[in-house]
Amino acid sequence: MSGHPSTYEPKTAFTRWLDSRLPIVRLGYDSFVDYPTPRNLNYWWTFGAILSLCLGVQIATGVVLAMHYTANAGLAFNSVEHIMRDVQYGWLIRYIHANGASMFFIAVYIHMFRGLYYGSYKAPREILWILGCVIYLLMMATAFMGYVLPWGQMSFHGAVVITNLFGALPIVGQAITTWLWGGFAVDNPTLNRFFSLHYLLPFMIAGVVILHIWALHVAGQNNPTGVEPKSKADTVPFTPYATIKDGFAVSVFLILFAIFVFYMPNALGHADNYIPADPLVTPAHIVPEWYFLPFYAILRAVPDKLMGVLAMFGAIACLFALPWLDTSKVRSMRYRPTAKLYFLIFVVACCILGLCGAKLPDDPVIPGLKTFTLIDSDLNSFVWLSRIAALYYFGFFLVILPILGLVEKTLPVPDSIAKPALSHPAHAPAEATASPETKG
């Protein structure tokens, strides 16, 4: 898995014996101790470690929750309350798990934007990037099904809305929804299968994470310059250099995590999910968890249901196709000033989509202002804002990145990681004295 010649030498009789039978210590040593790491990695590269921690935390807390949780439509809500009230530290475990899902998504989004900015998806890292996208898809499925488990009003009606999306598919739609539900409505069989899958998928994620790291260690890590390491001077051994930096970043991340768990555990959730599910009462606004809001906005931006569903899945498909959509030879956007600008707008567009997903489509963006109705809604409405942002989202992947790579002017790229200052006039004087944190 390490992708570089092994330097491990077993020191004791036991490790020599083990090494000739199962070289697992060698694997660990080559992958996480001696592994050569580009010396210029900044803090955006610590999110891999943070994500591994998140997965570990979700699995550990999830297994304990599953010991006390009851997957039955009549009992689920109260079993979660039983965890909150009667299980020793149950409130802690549940709040870590519920907020842990949000922390996981914060980390994965930063991790993905990092990859986008520094061109980490370009050859030879296409498979690495695609495996990351697979993890992201599995995470979304896991989190969606997890949110259904407490069987509150948002759990139930969120499940209804999302599973109904498949009903928009022609011919097979109805059959697929019935199959997903295990009946003719979201009900006890749905809850049971969601629980089973919610337990299964995290372990599938763990499997894909192993492939992801394998691919990473074959291609080697990218770095802020996007220039491949050429000599030993460009790298440092993973331990202690990367481990200690990752350790520090993880610790800072845990502070944020703890603030949510201990002081605002329900801030990222929705009050309606503390109302037991009632199929006959639909909440005034059905909103998904914050991490789905951008896709929810794309879904609602399209007036036709089927087209909306296709647009939503298309938004994710763009990520998979990205390695072949970006035509630029220069990897890092540090040396692509124009691309950098479009990237920043892209980040803003994603945030705007998230905002639109939380709002009622017909509500005005600027309160009190009436303009004119276009197609189905006033121009000053969140649905139109989401249309503009969604257009940019797709435009970025399908138009800007393919064309920009062919026409843009890029800055000179350094010859090697160790000597970026010499060949990169734009950074030279400041870089030499800059503290490590502000670099990148």
């Binding site: 009230r85 930096k245 610790s251 502070i255 709002k359």
Partner: protein
């Protein structure tokens, strides 16, 4: 670059923050902000207030509302209304036992198999006022009084909302036609435009609720001599309901403080180690 990303992160944070109010249903009045004793990172429940709140709950609200997730023993749990350090096992708390014994609950006679009534014990759940939803609706003009166990977490605004709702009843504005069995409340979510005959641009905030105003001055007599004004009763019962919904809140905040101190120290140490490890490496 880090700085630029931080700006983006801040903008994103702001966008999300402004998104929050839109999650509230309809356009009711914003709840009044109350300076609760349990607000803030070091806030604690005021035990005397919880006791008064329990009294209001028992003597007024429990006539219509269940709180079926609570057991009598919870009243004696740490940070609860009747916690007494002498009785770490709240089942033995004599005060709690006495409260429980005031109730009759049905049970099965193990000799005859008949349903019989027996006094409740501290392990029993709070009894519900109605045998089922139909009975609850029938007695309340078709409206269903919700279970109050987690209600303070099930509404945007939590205890502020409950307090505002309880103190917010007033005469329906002229021009609003409402069902005589219902009551106008500006804090209750709803859509009044169809009942409004005035200027369609100024539909009153709020909605009509099936709960008659449950509180008034001197609705209860407090044992600790506190004057039982409507405002006081509403505050006390809202605090009690917050405790009922989140009984571990104080334990949580206390643990959070130690965890944060620990993490800050650990981050400091890790940062120092990081600087030491990297001191001879340019990067």
């Amino acid at each position: 670059m880090l700085r630029k990303f931080s700006i983006i992160a801040a903008v994103a944070g702001l966008l999300v923050a402004t998104a929050a109010p839109a999650l509230a249903a309809g356009h009711p009045e914003e709840p009044k902000k109350v300076d609760w004793s349990f607000n803030g990172p070091f806030g604690k429940f005021d035990q005397a207030q919880l006791q008064r709140g329990y009294k209001v709950y028992r003597e007024v609200c429990s006539a219509c509302h269940a709180a079926s997730l609570l057991s009598f023993r919870n009243l004696g749990d740490k940070n609860g209304p009747f916690y007494d350090a002498k009785y770490p096992n709240s089942n033995n708390n004599p005060y709690v036992k006495a409260i429980a014994a005031e109730y009759q609950v049905s049970s099965i006679d193990e000799e005859t198999g008949d349903t019989v009534q027996r006094p409740a014990t501290s392990a029993d759940r709070f009894p519900s006022p109605f045998p089922n939803e139909y009975a609850a609706r029938a007695s309340n003009g078709g409206a269903l009084p919700p279970d109050l166990s987690v209600l303070a977490k099930a509404r945007e605004g939590g205890p502020d909302y409950i307090y505002s709702l309880l103190t917010g009843y007033h005469e329906a504005p002229a021009g609003l036609t409402i069902d005589p069995t219902k009551h106008y409340n500006p804090y209750f979510p709803g859509d009044l435009s169809s009942a409004w005959s005035g200027d369609p641009k100024h539909v009153p905030h709020g909605g009509v609720i099936g709960m008659p105003p449950p509180l008034a001055d001197d609705r209860v007599t407090y044992d600790d001599g506190t004057k039982a004004t409507l405002d006081q009763e509403a505050k006390d019962v809202s605090a009690f309901l917050m405790w009922a919904a989140e009984p571990k809140m104080i334990e949580r905040k206390e643990m959070g403080f130690s965890v944060l101190i620990y993490l800050l120290l650990m981050s400091g140490l890790l940062y120092a180690s990081y600087r030491t490890v990297w001191r001879n490496e340019s990067h």
